[in-house]
Subunit: 145 residues, 2 copies
DNA sequence: ATAAATTAAATTGAGTGCAATTTAATTATA
DNA sequence: TATAATTAAATTGCACTCAATTTAATTTAT
């Protein structure tokens, strides 16, 4: 096998590329299930936070999801329009926007609860591989660049 | 620890979420290096294919990168405008668009060759973890949903 | 040979992502 | 206490990403 100083530039020698491709691939596999409840993938993970926390401000949401207000502001307006959350400035500090789940949003949880089980079979990872992957990904996320 | 039937909907119990977050995080870490050569991450992986293959059609490129013409067509027009590739219909089959690297595109490779080494230190994974991650990601990509 | 089916790109439109800037509110400081 | 610095969202603008449709070329089936 011939070597060149350019080997490091080959797609097959990258870790970033399969990570990027895999991420998009998995989101694509969620789509048919998310379509049934009318959410995009990003809206779904926002709702996951809402189902757990009931009420958060945009900053906290951004910290949970690694997203900023440029992404979240229009997305939250859509979720508000669909009736799943409310958006109100905080009384204590009017810079903060409090996002709170509605009854409709709570109801959606009962439809969404099936999704993790429906999606479970869509990769062929062993439980050990799942655990490994989880650990490695969070190790990367924990690294300050 | 209390359990609920909604546990599977918690963000911390998802594999897809850290994958999605990690992918975006890594692309973000490439940005300062890619800025120096004036490419976006997606343009960079397209150029990686071009540096290896010299000439491909859009379909092949899409298969390599898991992207479709909706993403590739405008992106390739930008790379053509920058002078790194040419775009020409195939003589044999005019449905195919042949994308070929230019001399300018080849020159860019010498600037880009440093990037994999500059980026190498940006995660704290052990070599074993890198290999594990690589294997697991390609296992997922190889799964037909 | 011609019509029907298939294929490859391009186009369209909705929805992110994100860097950079702006606006408004709050806090820290001279 | 005015002013400066900081903070939280919103806004702006550019670049994807992808489903669905359209257009044009080629194959297949009649």
């Amino acid at each position: 096998m011939k070597h060149s100083k350019y080997d490091a530039l080959k797609l097959e020698n990258q870790l970033c590329f399969p990570l990027y491709a895999c991420s998009r691939e998995i989101v694509k596999r969620y789509k048919p299930f998310l379509d049934e409840i009318g959410l995009t993938y990003t809206q779904y993970i926002v709702m996951m936070v809402m189902w757990e926390r009931k009420s958060v401000n945009v900053k906290e949401l951004g910290e949970c999801l690694y997203l900023d207000s440029g992404t979240l502001t229009p997305l939250l307006k859509k979720l508000e329009f669909k009736g799943y959350v409310t958006r109100m400035r905080s009384d204590k500090d009017e810079r903060n926007l409090v996002v709170a789940i509605t009854d409709e949003g709570e109801k959606l949880k009962d439809k969404a609860v099936e999704i993790p089980f429906q999606i479970a079979g869509c990769t062929n990872l062993t439980p050990e591989e799942g655990v490994q992957l989880y650990g490695i990904l969070y190790k990367i996320l924990g690294t300050n660049p």
